[in-house]
């Protein structure tokens, strides 16, 4: 299988009054054709910033200070002209936002927004509307009503599904989904995830899920990337990460998920505070919260290395 996107040695810095904030520090990963990966981490781990970097659209004042994002066919994103990037966006890679409810222009009908996308990519408007109708049908959306509706006339779950349909409109190779279900109730969450899973089974599309809650996406991803303090601390197949996590942080993360049935006392919260990106330690960023910490964890940065089949982790103790 070929790689849809390859991220290599990506670093992103947010300048601030107290000094530069290293939001993303030298991370590399690839997404293969038809693969679904989840990038998991707590607030401030840099996962959303990675999502925007995949579009060279890191929010101000963030700055990509190093690395490369290479799409299929050797397309080096950061080297494209503005116009080439514009044409690349949405047709090859699209995004579903964290608050997808707010990503629709509030004063235009859904049909108009679809036509605007079609216009921008030289697609026939009628063909675009027909494709949207098809997508809406697979998502159990009443396309007749929704097409002529304004965003405020739709419910949150509806808008979310519309924005997913819009993301799929031009048949992209990659869809980045930033917390696609956080704003939804559990029923809609399940419905949306099932729709996405069906889409992936029917086409060779790749997904990147960004989430803080691994339990929500566990059933729709193949591989998980765990981020902490702007770095990748562990990657591996989802079954391995959930059942047998290696890195102490991942273990803590999995242990903190409350079980649906059973005793809450088995759930443990991670002690301490998330890493301070302004003042990262010389050694492992997780060391001060780690139960297994050793002397070298404080002085030496652990490098990411292979720890099993298709699994990597950055930890001295393993």
């Amino acid at each position: 299988m070929s790689d849809v996107v390859q991220v290599s040695r990506l670093s992103i810095v947010f300048p601030s009054d107290q000094g530069p904030v290293k939001a993303v520090d030298n991370i590399s990963f690839t997404v293969r054709e038809g693969e679904s990966i989840g990038i998991v981490g707590e607030s401030g781990s840099g996962k959303s910033t990675v999502a925007f970097a995949l579009f060279d659209s890191v929010p101000d004042p963030g700055e990509i200070t190093g690395g490369e994002v290479t799409y299929e066919g050797g397309v080096k994103l950061f080297e494209l002209s503005e116009e080439a990037k514009r044409r690349f966006y949405w047709s090859k890679a699209s995004m579903v936002f964290q608050a997808a409810q707010n990503t629709l222009n509030p004063i235009l009908r859904i049909s108009q927004q679809i036509e605007d996308i079609a216009d921008a990519h030289k697609m026939d408007k009628r063909a675009a509307l027909a494709r949207a109708t098809e997508l809406f049908d697979t998502m159990y959306i009443d396309s007749g009503r929704v097409l002529s509706a304004y965003p405020h006339e739709l419910s949150g779950g509806m808008k979310q599904r519309v924005s997913i349909a819009l993301a799929l409109l031009l048949g992209p190779r990659l869809v980045v989904l930033d917390e696609p279900t956080t704003a939804l109730d559990v029923i809609s969450q399940a419905a949306v995830l099932r729709i996405l899973d069906n889409v992936r089974r029917e086409s060779a599309i790749s997904f990147v899920f960004i989430t803080h809650d691994i339990s929500v996406i566990a059933h729709v991803v193949d591989r998980v990337i765990v981020m902490y303090g702007g770095k990748i601390v562990e990657t591996g197949p989802v079954e391995k990460i959930v059942a047998n996590p290696s890195h102490p942080y991942t273990r803590g993360l999995i242990a903190s998920i409350p079980p649906l049935v059973g005793d809450l006392s088995e759930t443990r919260a991670l002690p301490g505070q998330p890493a301070n990106l302004l003042n990262l330690p010389k050694g492992c960023a997780f060391a001060d919260r780690c139960e297994l910490k050793q002397q070298r964890c404080l002085t030496e940065m652990p490098q990411i290395r292979t720890i099993g089949p298709d699994a990597e982790a950055a930890c001295h103790v393993l």
């Binding site: 949405w90 936002f97 964290q98 222009n105 509030p106 605007d116 405020h152």
Partner: protein, 326 residues
């Protein structure tokens, strides 16, 4: 439709209330034109009866009639479309005075409002798109200062500079004395030439608040998720700007319509400075000479303008912004 009727009903009621209030308020002002004239006539040696008859025939009012009765009488006349006659310009109907003055003010005020709105919108977007540079700070400060200076000061300053010092623009009137008002080129040119300073005053004192308001809504909208979405959807820059522009201007629309009324009020000072034959000037002169019927006429006209503008704004807004229902 019933909503429209209800809105209109409320509007008529409001106009009536304002009319009634002004009727009594202006009679609370010190100095009463009927008595002034009555006493003047007495001093000229007339008998009380003669003076009273004289006042009644000139002013079409009985000086010592109770105010309430005067009010009822005035209201009755008003319902017939008769706003009475001027005291100062004896015998001239108020309707005629007001309707003669209205077009001048309407044109200058609307022109001033539209120009200042557009300048403000453009500068606001510009300032918002460069909000960390010195240009933005300069635009904001110039706008604030121009807005903060009272309009009559700006008017006097412009008059001094462009008339007294540089002799560029005329100091008074709405057109040259050689021209005949109507749809002819010489008159229109002369008119444009004469309104440069009044309109310039409205623009100078008005654009700043539009600029600041537009900048703030634009910055809010720029950071909205749908703008990032528009970029990632690969929409061309012009389309993105259209998304940004419409969403930023909409909140300003209501205040735009309301300003029309406010600027009618502002015209009192500006038209006085430029001796411009509009409503503001008429109003100022009427107040100084306690010309009750004319004052009432001006008030009535201004309120009606504001209220009508309000109703139009409400209905137009619901057409422009799908989220609002009239």
């Amino acid at each position: 439709m019933t909503k429209l009727l209800r809105r209109l009903g409320i509007s008529v009621l409001m106009i009536f209330l304002v009319a009634a209030l002004t009727f009594f308020l202006i009679r609370l002002m010190p100095g009463n034109p009927y008595e002034v004239m009555y006493h003047q006539l007495l001093m000229k040696g007339m008998s009380q009866q003669q003076a009273m008859d004289q006042v009644r025939s000139i002013m079409n009012a009985i000086p010592n009639q109770p105010v309430l009765i005067q009010f009822v009488e005035w209201l009755g006349q008003l319902l017939h479309g008769n706003m009475g006659t001027s005291i100062q310009e004896t015998g001239v109907p108020v309707t005629e005075l007001v309707l003669n003055a209205l077009p001048w003010t309407l044109v200058t005020v609307s022109l001033g409002l539209v120009i200042s709105f557009f300048i403000g919108i453009l500068l606001g977007v510009w300032s918002a798109s460069r909000r960390n540079s010195w240009v933005s700070g300069l635009i904001d400060n110039v706008g604030s200062i121009a807005h903060a200076i009272p309009a009559y000061v700006t008017a006097v300053a412009l008059l001094y500079l462009f008339n007294v010092v540089w002799h560029v623009f005329p100091s008074s009137g709405a057109y040259g004395i050689m021209e005949t008002p109507g749809l002819n080129i010489p008159f229109l040119l002369s008119f444009l030439y004469h309104i440069v300073l009044p309109v310039g005053t409205y623009v100078l004192t008005g654009f700043g608040s539009w600029e600041l308001a537009m900048k703030s809504t634009t910055i809010t909208v720029i950071n909205d998720d749908f703008m990032m979405a528009a970029r990632l959807r690969g929409l061309p820059r012009e389309k993105q700007m259209r998304y940004l522009g419409w969403n930023s201007i909409l909140p300003l629309f209501t205040s735009f319509m309301l300003s029309l009324g406010a600027m009618f009020g502002g015209s009192v000072f500006i038209e006085g400075t430029y001796a411009f034959p509009g409503i503001g000037n008429l109003f100022a002169t009427a107040i100084n000479s306690r010309d009750y019927p004319v004052i009432q006429g001006c008030f009535l006209l201004t309120t009606t303008t504001i209220i009508v503008a309000n109703v139009i704004a409400d209905f137009a807004y619901s057409k422009l912004d799908p989220r609002i229902q009239a």
